[in-house]
């Protein structure tokens, strides 16, 4: 496969990452250009590099479209990195924030917090989402561990499905009981980047930073952890501490994504698998490439969400699944 062809050293080693960054920049520019009024890419570049408050398009770009593109990049990168870490540490190809219940746990916590207690402080939303994701992760892990045979890939996925169904039902009940409060949340609950306030980014950034810094820091140890706990101990890793760090990173990244865009499925599942096809199994490569590919993927998905039925906008979370499911089927046929 192509994995063996990716060079590690010398000038050639820089071609692939540079190419990836160029694609990211193009997707970023295209994302900004698309909207109610299509703006030429040249004007987009001009607005970003030489902003002129007198030009209407520049104001639209910087005030309205740029924040959404930035959020798409951050959410896509967070979910993809969280999925990659979870797949490595649990040695489970199906592990990701959605399937193992973290997304719904975070969403449920936010729904209860915002809806029932009527406290919509953006500063607390990421914290609440993190606590929800952590509680859901613990519950899924606990149920799987209690099953005969322990926490196998199968029992983890099953208990993740149970928790997802249960909390999903509770979320639906909550939204039905109080339709008015949940009018705004309903769009958010399908996973959406539309109309997100800028201040949520400020409060989410610390969580994102912590999650990504840890993820990049532990990446090379995740490769060994994917080969089994005993192997990792033999190599001199502190496995308990390492797993706690990975859990912290996954929870922080999931909480950030949920706080910004609601439960966005499939990104964490599809992107790391697609990345592994090209860079192999070494997490020193899988983690940064997942971040890059996740960002590009969500930019493209969000472009599609606004283009396909224009002028009607589809919820981004729906498009991630609509696009992600066929890609995943292709991946399964290709390799899994």
């Amino acid at each position: 496969m192509t994995a063996a062809a990716l060079p590690r050293h010398g000038v050639a080693a820089w071609v692939a990452p540079l190419g990836g960054l160029v694609v990211l920049c193009l997707a970023f520019g295209w994302h900004i250009a698309v909207g109610a009024k299509t703006i030429p890419l040249g004007t987009v570049a001009e607005a970003l590099l030489a902003y002129d408050a007198g030009v209407f398009d520049h104001v639209v770009i910087v005030d309205l479209r740029l924040p959404r593109a930035v959020l798409a990049v951050l959410v896509g990168a967070s979910l993809a990195v969280a999925g990659a870490l979870m797949q490595g540490v649990t040695r489970n190809p199906l592990a990701e924030p959605g399937i193992l219940g973290l997304l719904i746990g975070a969403s449920f916590a936010v729904v209860v917090f915002v809806g029932v207690f009527d406290l919509a402080s953006p500063a607390l939303i990421p914290l609440v989402a993190a606590l929800g994701a952590l509680a859901a992760a613990m519950a899924v892990w606990g149920i799987a561990t209690a099953a005969p045979g322990g926490a196998t890939p199968l029992t983890l996925v099953l208990s993740g499905a149970a928790i997802t169904a249960f909390l999903g039902a509770l979320v639906t009940v909550a939204t039905l009981l109080d339709e008015q409060t949940f009018e705004e949340l309903r769009v958010w609950l399908t996973g959406s980047l539309a109309g997100r306030r800028g201040d949520i980014l400020v409060w989410t950034l610390p969580w994102l930073t912590v999650g990504l810094v840890i993820a990049f820091g532990v990446a090379r140890q995740v490769t060994a952890l994917a080969m089994g706990d005993e192997t990792a101990v033999g190599l001199g890793m502190r496995v308990g501490r390492l797993k706690a760090l990975v859990l912290l990173a996954v929870v922080a990244l999931t909480a950030s994504a949920v706080a910004i865009a609601g439960p966005m499925g499939f990104v964490g599942l599809v992107v790391p698998h697609a990345v592994r096809l090209f860079v192999g199994q070494d997490y020193r490569l899988v983690v940064p490439w997942s971040a890059l590919a996740g960002a590009i993927y969500l930019l493209v998905v969000d472009i599609a969400a606004r283009l396909v039925l224009a002028p009607i906008e589809i919820s981004t979370g729906l498009v991630t699944a609509l696009l992600g499911a066929p890609i995943f089927v292709w991946l399964v046929r290709a390799r899994l």
């Binding site: 063996a4 040695r91 140890q221 005993e230 101990v233 033999g234 190599l235 001199g236 199994q281």
Partner: protein, 282 residues
């Protein structure tokens, strides 16, 4: 060593002992599988642990590798207890290959072997020329260099096991512990693999402790043979002294004749099957 049924001299073995278990008890979730075991591992030699299933040989190995905690006693590496030494310091001197390790699908041989360099790296010093040299040397020693860029999962069982051995070699430790490295392999592959391990011990002066299942393979290669039963060591010594019909009967419940391989001078056990044939014929 009064608990040993067969106390034998280790006069033919090297004197030094950097790794030793002293009164070690260990097990899983409170149940002590290994009980009060002491073992001095001779430096630069191939020590082989054998015993029936569930006798605690793997548990002892894991306790010595600090993969399992000890409930009593201690394991000393260079005079310091391994369970209290920073784990990365231990990993620079002692490597451990667990039983039946699984490489993630698609991981290439070179990437697998490179994992062995972890204890020599830090956040600031990620990958050095020294690491590259050690990985190449380890792949050459384990004879897997020709597979370097192939996925581990594409290789045969014996080739895969050599890749894992290359990984622990790349760790460049003086002590290497291996848990059943030959299980599920063809006899020819087992012999090749044990020959490789013996070369590593004798030619490079490294200390190897290997848990084995095959008695005759153990007898053919061990410098020090350790027999365990019921969580205790019941016999230990050079193969010529420890590998006796009485010991096999006592430890394994196996009635066997011991012959001597005229080529190597090593003992070979031949299980007595005549009675079994007679019963089958009736």
């Amino acid at each position: 060593m009064a608990s040993h049924l067969y106390v034998t001299t280790t006069a033919t073995l090297p004197d030094g002992c950097r790794l030793s278990a002293q009164g070690v008890s260990a097990g899983y979730g409170g149940a002590a599988i290994v009980q009060d075991v002491s073992l001095d591992v001779p430096d630069g030699a191939l020590t082989v642990l054998v015993g029936p299933n569930g006798c605690g040989k793997s548990t002892l190995l894991k306790a010595m590798a600090r993969v399992l905690p000890v409930s009593a006693g201690r394991v000393l590496l260079d005079g310091a207890p391994v369970h209290e030494t920073p784990t990365r310091d231990v990993a620079r001197r002692l490597a451990m290959l667990p039983q039946g390790p699984v490489a993630p699908e698609g991981l290439r041989v070179r990437e697998l072997v490179a994992q062995g360099r972890f204890p020599h790296q830090s956040l600031l010093r990620q990958w050095s020329r020294e690491d590259a040299r050690a990985v190449e040397a380890a792949m050459a020693a384990a004879d897997v260099a020709q597979f370097a860029d192939r996925p581990v999962s594409d290789l045969s069982g014996g080739q895969r096991q050599r890749c894992w051995i290359a990984m622990v070699l790349a760790q460049e430790t003086d002590v290497i512990l291996l848990d059943e490295p030959t299980t599920f392999l063809d006899l020819k592959v087992q012999i090749d693999l044990m020959g490789l391990l013996r070369r590593i011990a004798h030619d490079e002066g490294r200390t190897l402790v290997v848990v084995l299942h095959e008695l005759n393979v153990a007898a053919a290669f061990a410098d020090l043979l350790v027999m365990m039963k019921g969580g205790r060591i019941v016999a230990e010594g050079p193969v010529g002294l420890a590998f006796t019909a009485e010991a096999l009967s006592d430890v394994f419940g196996l009635e066997a004749s011991i012959l001597t391989d005229p080529e190597s001078g090593r003992p070979v056990c031949v299980p007595r099957v005549a009675r079994g044939f007679a019963l089958a014929a009736q």
